[in-house]
């Protein structure tokens, strides 16, 4: 056995959809049927189910682990679960469906490569499902697997399933998502989740697990559109007096000899060495934490960014798409702390430009945003930010707005305005 030489493929996905459509039950089913749960964990779920009078085995209890969640029978916050099949590892973010907990859903979806959308087949696509799919798409998720759930309650009829397929395809097209896969399932009974089912002889597509295993990992929207990016986290001071700059490589690989710009200063220099604590690297791939030695002893500090072409923009005024989580409305003139990559500064909302209507995927004129709204704002910052459009890079294209008094994170923001396709006639 040589696990250290195995390169395991990793897929991060988030469940999205409306409350009570069965997201947690589906994840519970997926984990139980792929034998990811230990015997004592399964026993504990069974025991809690019986104690709370919700049957022999309430699969939603596999991820709904908080007292309040079990009491109310809903998911409040994201549960992260880990699963492995012979072909890949999964990091699963089981997100809440309730509109009140949109901030938690956005937390789970912000790092996902794929969204597993759960729809109640007896009810079809609800507004909340559309909102979640819309948020996932705005966050850059470009792959959808849709579980048309509760097919047992729909008596495995083809019509409600086909209606969901039509709605999903229309929605995906508007959001620029190709080839969504829709699977008819009963999470409760386990049909088409891990094991194929005879209940729907008219369906010849994959099971949910089959679709998850076949989906390309990574494949995030912006891959390959920008050069290397390294936001400086920390200045490493060597005993020799030398300084190197530590951070995570993003956008594209970084290698010794690369011509880089130190931004926002705009100083051109060359990468002398790229190393980790284990020694020099010939090339540092995306996602690797490294420290970088610059030629000419160019001084840099936390919050600066090293970048190769195509270069990011340096700006103190930008248009952004925001998910607003604050209890109080977001209005023109409000002031926040802005955290973008490793840089923190002060930002003003110059203008609230529009609100996204998640049902029609249109922008409506609105000069304020309420809790859980998605909108477009113009922000100016006290110090310049080094940004890429969010559609080109997730790390350099995102920032958060933080309450200066309480330190609460009030909004997730993405550089650029959303672009929706025109509705089908």
């Amino acid at each position: 056995m040589a696990p250290q030489t195995q390169v395991m493929d990793l897929l991060r996905f988030a469940t999205v959809g409306s409350v009570d459509d069965g997201k947690s039950t589906l994840i519970g089913r997926l984990l139980v049927d792929t034998r990811q749960l230990f015997d004592d964990q399964l026993e504990a779920v069974a025991h809690a189910s019986v104690t709370r009078g919700v049957g022999d085995l309430d699969l939603s209890f596999v991820t709904d682990g908080l007292r309040a969640e079990r009491e109310q029978g809903i998911t409040i916050d994201v549960a992260y679960r880990y699963a492995a099949t012979p072909t890949r590892k999964f990091i699963i973010a089981d997100c809440p469906g309730h509109v009140q907990y949109t901030r938690n859903m956005a937390t789970g979806a912000s790092t996902a490569d794929l969204a597993l959308v759960v729809v109640d087949a007896t009810a079809g696509l609800k507004e909340q499902t559309r909102r979640h799919v819309c948020i996932a798409a705005l966050l850059g998720v470009r792959r959808l697997i849709v579980a048309a759930n509760k097919m047992d309650l729909a008596e495995w009829a083809r019509d409600p399933f086909d209606a969901i397929v039509t709605d999903v395809e229309q929605l995906a097209a508007r959001l620029g998502i190709d080839n969504p896969i829709v699977v008819p399932v009963s999470a409760l009974n386990g049909d088409n989740v891990v094991d194929p089912s005879d209940a729907a002889p008219w369906y010849d597509g994959p099971t949910v697990l089959g679709a998850l295993e076949a989906a390309p990992a990574g494949g995030w929207a912006g891959e390959g559109k920008v050069g290397a990016r390294l936001p400086v986290q920390w200045v490493l001071r060597h005993p020799t007096g030398k300084r190197t700059y530590a951070g995570m490589v993003d956008g594209a690989p970084l290698a010794p000899g690369d011509e880089v710009m130190l931004l926002p200063e705009g100083i051109r220099t060359t990468v002398r060495r790229v190393a980790t604590a284990d020694g020099d690297l010939a090339v540092a791939p995306v996602g690797r934490c490294v420290d970088v030695d610059l030629a000419d002893d160019t001084p840099a500090g936390r919050g600066d960014m090293l970048a190769t072409a195509p270069l990011p923009e340096v700006t103190d005024r930008l248009v952004a798409t925001v998910c607003w989580f604050g209890e109080e409305p977001l209005t023109t003139g409000q002031r926040f702390r802005v955290k973008h990559t490793t840089r923190s500064t002060i930002g003003f909302v110059e203008h609230v430009d529009a609100r996204v209507d998640v049902n029609n995927l249109t922008l409506e004129d609105r000069d304020y945003l309420e809790a859980n709204d998605i909108g477009v704002v113009t922000i100016s910052t006290a110090d310049p930010l080094v940004v890429d459009p969010y559609g080109h890079n997730r790390i350099t294209g995102s920032f958060v707005l933080v309450d200066e008094r309480t330190n609460a994170t009030l909004a997730g923001a993405m550089v650029g305005a959303p672009s929706f396709a025109a509705p089908q006639p």
Binding site: M8, Q41, G65, D77, W234, L236, A246, K339, N407
Partner: protein, 312 residues
């Protein structure tokens, strides 16, 4: 040391990273963010395998410079001697200042009730931990907790906010989007930072093997006098002796977790190498907490309840 996955000849350099490299990098990123954003972080070090990995990562994050924060052990007084020896050597090797906060001192000072001779001090160590955080004005405490350990941990953010009473409120967690770890707190409040959130037990062992991280000897199979108490194999010690018709048996065991010696159970095992341990846990049917922690058997939400009070 394993080299980075080499790029195939004549192709573009892949942007893929081996999953252990990915986990390592994300953990190092988190450790550096907290060190940069917080005034006085501390790393909680129990001498267990997760904190061993955490300390190893922290050292790597700042090498060749010294660790920019101290290491703290919350000492229940119910220790395995091998672990205390290991703790002292590791802190010294890391060049870190070791702070020991003693549960016995909390009992002596009247801060907490002594649960009695041989009774678990697991729950009351939260008070010792919070007192130490206040005393030293720590605003962030790194912990080795993983989300795959427990259903309440599975819900917790990487940077987890604690109010000025040290409480976790699972209903009001800060949104934590992308890799924007936002670590600002007001005076009296603090953060718990969990760089190993996304690691599984198997990832930990594979990483220990790859990095050749030294562990306390009790993780490997050895002969020990144990008492079978309701299915838990507790080490016979000055705190644990047979009750009723219990007997002391000599068995070949190892520990899957390290905690308070009065309630951490051993598992029957012949695994004397890390490779053998990886094989063993790959086929295990019982979770590491289920196999070894008496404290979580009492209630459905034992971990959540302890965390709300300020536990690790």
């Amino acid at each position: 040391m394993t080299p980075t996955t080499p790029a195939p000849e004549g192709t573009a350099v892949p942007s893929r990273v081996d999953h252990l490299d990915l986990l390592e990098s994300l953990a190092i990123f988190i450790i550096r963010e907290v060190a940069a954003e917080c005034e006085r972080p501390v790393l909680l070090f129990s001498g267990g395998k997760d904190s061993a990995v955490l300390l190893h990562l922290a050292v790597k994050a700042f090498a060749p410079a010294r660790l920019p924060f101290p290491v703290m052990h919350i000492d229940t007084g119910h220790n395995f001697p091998e672990v205390i020896d290991y703790r002292d050597r590791q802190a010294e090797a890391a060049g870190a200042r070791l702070v020991v906060a003693s549960v016995q001192a909390s009992i002596d000072a009247g801060r907490v009730m002594d649960p009695g001779e041989g009774a678990s001090r697991n729950r009351i160590q939260s008070t010792t931990l919070l007192d130490a955080i206040n005393e030293h004005k720590f605003d962030a405490a790194f912990g080795g907790a993983r989300r795959d350990e427990d259903k309440a941990r599975a819900k917790e953010r990487v940077l987890s906010f604690r109010d000025r009473f040290g409480r976790w409120d699972p209903r009001r967690q800060r949104p934590e989007l992308w890799q924007l770890y936002q670590g600002k707190v007001n005076p009296g409040e603090h953060l718990r930072a969990f760089p190993l959130s996304d690691w599984t037990e198997l990832d930990i062992w594979q990483y220990i093997e790859r990095e050749r991280i030294e562990l306390p000897t009790i993780y490997f199979a050895h002969d020990r006098d144990v008492i079978n108490r309701e299915g838990m194999l507790l080490a016979a010690s000055q705190w644990v002796s047979p009750k009723g018709d219990e007997v002391v048996e000599r068995m070949t065991v190892r520990y899957r977790t390290v905690g308070d010696a009065t309630l951490t159970g051993a598992v029957v095992s012949s695994a004397t190498t890390i490779t053998a341990i990886i094989e063993e846990i790959s086929t295990a049917r019982v979770s590491e907490r289920g196999a070894t922690r008496g404290d979580d058997k009492f209630s459905e939400t034992a971990m959540e309840d302890r965390k709300r009070e300020g536990y690790f």
